[in-house]
């Protein structure tokens, strides 16, 4: 092989001299011909990046590893001045803007000793609309080796929480800018304790106990940048809700293209509390490609039994179930909602060179929604269909897009013939 290499080098040098290539280049050429594809890929891959990236600080690496090997992690921890690690957060469980609390400005901090150690967070904020202090605390304790995925968690807080089926993404932003607060709220003071089991990314199970005092929350804020918010928040049945709750998440939309979320809640009876009822929620999402065409089917079934308070009844209508209809358009003891969306994979505007729009990366999403309730005031199917145009904003925990929907509600009781909605949507992949 070396003989061949040197022969090639000399041949290249001879040819190169005639053609103006230097012997050095000829040697490079010979080296190139000697290297394997694997080596060439590595070399070419490196060439795309700053050579500085591949420089190594060998002395530092060796001393750091020798330090770790000799002392071990426990000894290193003892050297720390403060045995707990802490970090500050933005109070993300409290930040809000809605018609019952106004602006809730919050901040907080977390305490932990390490990645698989008890972890506590404290968040506090002030609601400028209701003029009340809000807080939310959590504690999570791993109770087995990390690969078992077992932990217990507890939480306690006082804040306004949404109820009903409508849960639009970034509702606060929508409420603050456009005055379109699409949720209903109740005041909640209480906590919960759970046992969590997480195995892989596609299996989560939790069971626990929840207790909270629930009360009606009056609307206190109307202000929005581009139009006032409706000063109404539907009252709920006040009382103490004590319940045993079990939740399951099975599958994943990225890997299995299917996900099932189930929740069962049993309240009252021997557990105590003001309400005696049970409620089951089932969410099934399926995603399929037909060559490049992507279809997403979402369905949500709710069944309540016993004497469920109004805030725990099944409801449909609004951005999360049937677009074009107002929120809580139908309320009953059971409900079924379905949604089918076709995500057009091509940038139609770019291909058609539509002025201005062709550079905005706008995706077309034709869709259809349908839902109904049982044992309610009006048990009929409500449906709608329409066309959405969305722009991808980024990965914020889940992929998020800004969507403009033109919705055509169908049925005799519809409040209007067409409804335009600008909202944020959570991607399902």
């Amino acid at each position: 092989m070396r003989f061949c290499t040197s022969m090639l080098a000399w041949s290249a040098a001879i040819i190169g001299l005639a053609g103006g290539i230097t012997p050095v280049a000829a040697q490079d050429a010979a080296a190139d011909s000697a290297e394997t594809l694997h080596e060439r890929l590595k070399r070419e891959g490196e060439r795309r990046f700053d050579p500085e990236l591949l420089e190594s600080n060998r002395a530092f690496q060796d001393s750091a590893l020798a330090n770790l090997d000799s002392l071990g992690i426990a000894a290193q921890k003892k050297k720390a001045r403060f045995p707990l690690g802490y970090d500050f957060n933005f109070g993300e469980r409290l930040w809000n803007y809605n018609r019952v609390e106004g602006l809730v400005a919050a901040a907080g901090f977390g305490l932990t000793r390490g990645s698989h150690e008890p972890w506590a967070t404290f968040q506090g904020g002030y609601a400028f609309g209701s003029e009340k202090f809000r807080h939310f605390e959590t504690l999570e304790i791993p109770i087995a080796p990390e690969d078992w995925g077992l932990s217990v968690a507890a939480q306690f807080g006082e804040r306004a929480v949404p109820y009903g089926s409508n849960r639009p993404r970034w509702n606060s932003l929508r409420a603050f800018v456009g005055g379109e607060d699409a949720q209903d709220y109740l005041g909640s003071l209480g906590g919960a304790a759970y046992l969590h089991w997480r195995k892989w990314r596609s299996l989560r199970l939790s069971a626990g106990y929840e207790a909270a005092e629930e009360s009606s929350a009056p609307a206190t804020t109307e202000f929005a940048l581009l139009g006032d918010m409706a000063p109404v928040n539907i009252p709920v049945e006040d009382g103490t809700d004590r319940a045993l709750v079990a939740r399951l998440r099975l599958g994943s939309l990225a890997r299995y293209m299917a996900r099932l979320d189930a929740e069962h809640r049993v309240a009252g009876g021997d557990i105590g509390g003001s309400f005696t009822y049970n409620r089951t929620d089932l969410d099934l999402t399926l995603r399929r490609y037909f060559w490049r065409q992507e279809l997403v089917l979402q369905s949500h079934y709710v069944h309540t039994g016993g004497d469920a308070p109004v805030q725990r009844l099944a409801d449909v209508g609004g951005l999360s179930t049937v677009r074009g209809w107002k929120q809580r358009a139908l309320v009953g003891e059971s409900s079924l909602a379905g949604r089918l969306e076709y995500l057009v994979p091509y940038d139609v505007f770019e291909r058609a060179r539509v002025p201005i729009l062709w550079r905005l990366q706008l995706q077309l999403v034709p869709w259809a929604d349908a839902a109904r309730t049982w044992d309610g005031v009006s048990d009929v199917w409500i449906t709608s269909a329409g066309m959405g145009i969305q722009h991808f904003l980024g990965e914020f925990g889940t992929p998020t897009s800004l969507r403009f929907d033109v919705a055509f509600p169908m049925g005799p009781d519809r409040s209007r013939d067409v409804r335009l909605e600008l909202h944020f949507v959570r991607g399902v992949f």
């Binding site: 394997t36 694997h38 990046f49 050297k79 720390a80 990645s115 992949f429």
Partner: protein, 298 residues
């Protein structure tokens, strides 16, 4: 549909495996004469056969592989890349360089990492060193050496080599694959496979993967992002590559990841314009068990 052709050394039909001329030195005179005549006869026969259009290459036609079969074999290859081992430990050297207009910062972080076949993984930070530079007369000069930090060690998740596959194999349904090229490397074939997201709007990378048909190992990956996954923060992802190597024991592991991003000016110049990172993995050791003294309680 694919075809594989394997080249064999040329040998005219009808010639013995040992050439008669090799026997000449060891034979008596009469035998030499016989062999000489035989060689002439056979040689003439072979020349005639070649002259009649016989090729000097033997083509062996194997079963044609579809792209789906190649990808399926890749999947199997990925599942067996660490076969026979229960766990592995290695060192990770992370280097991040941030570039501003007239300054830059280099961070070197060293981790010791562990992963096993249950999917458990953990890494421990062994130390970090930060150096800041300023651009003076077109030369980078050290402005501040923050020194080495070897205080409290931070534990975090590591890399799940035993249970994780490359994302384009995990989520195959998201991509459209194309066989771009085949290269014969010594005695086996290397496939060059391209993939692109089926949707033009998904923030998923497209890329090129090189697969060695010797056990169907991925040897090199290059990625490009047509749709920026963080458009509010990142201006562009300039490059992303991952290189795999075979260890002396036959295990296949990725040894380096290189990437570079261009950042948006969202904080009036306070955030860097560009950032580049390299992850180099080395010092692989297998089946040494979990060392709680180094990695902490499990």
């Amino acid at each position: 549909m694919q075809e594989q052709w394997r080249h064999r050394p040329s040998r005219p039909r009808g010639i013995a495996s040992t050439h008669p001329s090799l026997l000449v030195e060891q034979s008596p005179r009469f035998l030499r004469a016989v062999l000489f005549v035989l060689a002439l006869v056979l040689g003439a026969g072979a020349s005639r056969a070649l002259a009649q259009g016989e090729t000097d290459t033997v083509h062996v036609r194997q079963k044609k592989l579809t792209l789906e079969e190649i990808i399926e074999r890749c999947e199997q290859g990925e599942k067996t890349k660490l076969a026979g081992h229960r766990d592995m430990q290695y060192t990770v050297n992370l280097r991040v360089i941030f570039y501003w207009e007239k300054k830059k910062e280099t961070r070197d972080i060293v981790f010791r990492a562990f992963s096993d076949d249950t999917g458990f993984s953990r890494s421990v930070k062994a130390g970090e060193v930060v150096q800041r530079y300023e651009l003076r007369d077109s030369v980078w000069v050290v402005s501040k050496d923050e020194g080495e930090e070897s205080g409290i060690q931070v534990e975090s998740d590591g890399f799940g080599d035993f249970v994780e596959m490359p994302f384009f194999l995990e989520e195959q349904q998201e991509f459209h694959f194309t066989l771009l090229d085949r290269t014969v490397e010594r005695d086996h074939v290397i496939f060059k496979i391209g993939f692109v997201p089926k949707s033009e709007f998904k923030a998923l990378p497209s890329g090129t993967v090189y697969v060695d048909t010797d056990n169907y190992r991925i040897v090199h990956e290059e990625f490009d992002f047509e749709t920026n996954p963080f458009p509010l923060l990142l201006k562009d992802i300039k490059g992303f590559s991952r290189h795999w190597e075979e260890l002396p024991g036959g295990e296949w592991v990725y040894t380096r990841i290189l990437m570079e991003v261009e950042l948006r000016n969202v904080a009036f110049g306070r955030l860097p314009r560009r950032a580049a990172a390299s992850i180099l993995r080395e010092d692989f050791e297998f089946d040494k068990g979990y060392d709680a003294r180094i990695f902490g309680e499990r």
